[in-house]
Amino acid sequence: MIANKEGITQEELVINLGPQHPSTHGVFRMVLECRGESIVGVTPHMGYLHRGFEKLAERRTAVQYQPYPDRWDYLAAMFDEMAYIGAAEALLGIEAPPRAEWLRGIVMELNRLSSHLLWLGTFLLDVGALSPFLYTFREREMILDLLMELTGARLTYSYLRFGGLAHDAEDIWLKKVRAGIPYFRSRVREYRQLIDDNEIFRKRVQNIGVIDQDTAIRYGLTGPMLRASGPAWDLRRHRPYGVYRQIETPVVTRDKGDTWSRYQVRMDEMDVSLDLLDIFLEGIEPGAVNAKVPKNIKFPEADTYFAVEGPRGELGVYLAGDGTAHAKRMKIRPPSLFNLQVLSQLLVGHMVSDAVVILGSVDIVLGEVDR
C-alpha cells in the first residue's frame, strides 16, 4: 500500500512463491497477487529446470539416448522409458517378447505406487501434516529397494531397452514383490484411516480448486486430474499398450473435480496398482526377455506418437526419423505441464494457503514440466 497526499491508494500485495520455496515441489515459481489473503492474480513461471531433452534426441543416437528419458520425470522413470522405447519400437517395428511385457507392467505399476506415495506425503505436507510424509517415505523406500535390486538404481533405472529389457528378473525377486503386496495394501488402508476422516483435512480440501468436466477436457488434462472431474479416460484401458492389452484395467473416477476428489482418485489408484500387480505376477511366464534387434538402430523415415498412462497422466512421445541413427525430431507430451496450465484459473478467489494445497494436488514434477 502506498500513501499519497490525497489519501490512501491501495494496490495488490505481490507474493513470490518459488523457485526456492518449500511448497513448490522443485523449482516452479508463481507470483501471487493478493488482496489481503485472497488471491486475485497468478503468474506462473516455469523453465528453471530446462535441460533441452528434446533437442538432445537429435544429437544422440537412439541407443545413446536411452538413459535420458529417466531424467524427464525422475519420480516415475519407468514410464518415461516406456514412452520413449515404445515410440522407438513402434517406429522400428519391433515387438518385445511376452515376458518382457509382463515385467514392464510389473515395474511400471511398482513405480506408479512409489510415485503416488511420494505425492501423498508431499501433498499432506502442503496441507500441514508432517507425519504422513515420513510414513509414505518408509513404504516408498521399500519399493525403491525392490527396484534397486532389480535394476541397480533407485530412480534412474535404464531398465527398458529396445525390444525388451536390460536383463531378466529372478524368481526370488518376483517372490519378494508378491510378498510385499499384502503389506502395501494394509498400509494404504492405514493411511486412509488416518487421513480420510480428519475434520481439518476435509475442510482444507473439499470444494477447493474445483475443475468442472468441460474445463478439464478443454485444458487437455489427463490422469487423476481429469478422472477426478468425471471423464473415465485411462490409456491403460482405452488405448492399451503392452501387457495392458491382455487385461481390463479398472478406471477410478470421481465427479466433483475438487482437491478431495483428486486425493481419492490417487488413493484408489494405489489399490488398483496393487490389484494389477497381483494379476501380472499371476500371469508372468518364463521365456526370453529380448527380441531380435538390428545391431545398428536406424529410425526409418516416418513418424509416430506413442503414449502411456503415467502416474500424472498421458505421457506421450512424438518421434520422427529420417533414416539415420538420430531422431529427426522428438517431442514429449509431459502430463504435468498440461495439467499445470489450469492452475492460474484455479487459484483466483482462493486464499494463499489454498494455493499451496491446490498446487500440491496437481502433482507436478519439474523435471518433466521443463524437460
Binding site: V14, I15, P22, L124, G128, A129, S131, M351, S353, V356
Partner: protein, 301 residues
C-alpha cells in the same frame, strides 16, 4: 530482596525447562513419526537443545538491510518478556497474588504486539502475512480463553489461582464440572501458543517461517524459547485450573501429560486455514465458553 532472589532463580530455571520441552517434543514427535530424533548430544540427546542454544548465541547478529531496526530488535524481547512475567501468577511460584487471573490475561495479551512488530519490522512479505495472521489469531482467541478462565474463577469465587487450585482439592476438579470450559480453554490455549494445527502464522509450507523468517541467532532463540515457555505456561494453567493441581510431582505429571497430548495433536493434525481458524474461534469457541459460564452460574446457584 527475598523475592528478587526467587525471581532470579526462576528466571534461570524456566528457559532450562523450555529447552527440556524442546528436546522432549523433538524426541516424542520422532517416535510418532518412525524416526529417531536427536540422540547424539548427551544421554538420549538430552543436551541437544543446550547445544542448539549455544550455537544460536554464537551466531553473528544480523539485521536485514531494509528492516525497521527498532521494531525488529524489540520484537523478540516483547515476545519473551510477557510470557516469563506471566509465570509470576502461578500458585506454585507465588500463592498470594490475589489478582492472579486478571494479571495473567492482561500480560499474555501483550505478546500479540511482538508478532505484529516482528511482521512489520522484518520488511518481508512472508513475515508481514505471518504477523497479520498471528495478531488476528491472538486477538480472537484471547476472548474464549478469558471466558473459559472465568468459569473456575466464578466457581471458586476468587481470582487467586492458589484458591482456585485448592478449591478443587475439596470438590471435583473443574475438568469434570466444566468440561466445555476445559476443552474450550485447551483449544484456545493451543491457538494462543501457535501450536499445530493452529501454527498458520509460521506455516512452513506457505509462509516459510512466518513472522520469524528473517530472524537468526539470539533473537531467533528468544522466539523459540518464548514459544516453548508459552506452551509450558498454558499446560501449567490447565493443570492448575482444570486438573486440580496438588503436590508438585502431581502438577509436573499433569503438565507433562498435557504437553504430550499437544505434541500428539501436532503429529496427527493438518494445519487449519486462516478463515476457518477465525470461524472456529468466533462461531464455536466463544459460544461454547459462554455456555460454560452460564452452566457454572447454574451449577453454583
Amino acid at each position: 530482596m527475598n523475592n528478587l532472589i526467587i525471581a532470579t532463580v526462576v528466571g534461570m530455571i524456566l528457559p532450562g525447562i523450555a529447552a527440556f520441552l524442546l528436546w522432549y517434543e523433538r524426541r516424542l514427535l520422532a517416535r510418532l513419526q518412525v524416526r529417531m530424533g536427536p540422540n547424539r548430544v548427551g544421554p538420549q540427546g538430552l543436551w541437544q537443545s543446550l547445544a542448539d542454544i549455544i550455537k544460536l548465541l554464537s551466531k553473528s547478529d544480523t539485521v536485514p538491510k531494509d528492516s525497521n531496526p527498532w521494531l525488529f530488535k524489540l520484537a523478540p524481547i516483547m515476545a519473551f518478556l510477557p510470557v516469563f512475567m506471566a509465570f509470576a501468577a502461578l500458585p506454585q511460584l507465588d500463592p498470594r497474588l490475589n489478582i492472579g487471573l486478571l494479571y495473567l490475561v492482561a500480560i499474555l495479551s501483550l505478546s500479540a504486539l511482538s508478532f505484529l512488530a516482528a511482521g512489520m519490522g522484518s520488511h518481508s512479505k512472508y513475515a508481514l502475512l505471518g504477523g497479520f495472521r498471528a495478531t488476528a489469531q491472538m486477538v480472537s482467541y484471547e476472548i474464549p480463553l478469558s471466558l473459559a478462565l472465568l468459569g473456575p474463577a466464578m466457581a471458586a469465587g476468587s481470582l487467586n489461582l492458589n484458591v482456585i487450585a485448592s478449591w478443587q482439592q475439596h470438590h471435583l476438579p473443574y475438568i469434570l464440572t466444566q468440561p466445555l470450559g476445559a476443552i474450550g480453554f485447551f483449544i484456545a490455549a493451543m491457538a494462543e501458543a501457535h501450536r499445530p494445527p493452529f501454527d498458520l502464522a509460521e506455516a512452513e509450507s506457505e509462509l516459510v517461517a512466518g513472522y520469524h523468517v528473517e530472524y537468526s541467532g539470539v533473537r531467533f532463540a528468544l522466539f523459540v524459547v518464548s514459544e516453548y515457555a508459552h506452551l509450558l505456561l498454558l499446560c501449567w494453567l490447565v493443570a492448575v485450573m482444570y486438573l486440580g493441581g496438588g503436590a508438585p510431582w502431581l502438577v509436573a505429571l499433569e503438565i507433562m501429560t498435557m504437553v504430550s497430548i499437544v505434541i500428539w495433536l501436532r503429529a496427527t493434525m493438518p494445519r487449519i486455514r486462516a478463515d476457518q481458524l477465525m470461524a472456529l474461534g468466533w462461531k464455536v469457541l466463544i459460544p461454547l465458553t459462554s455456555l460454560n459460564l452460564l452452566w457454572t452460574w447454574v451449577w453454583n446457584l
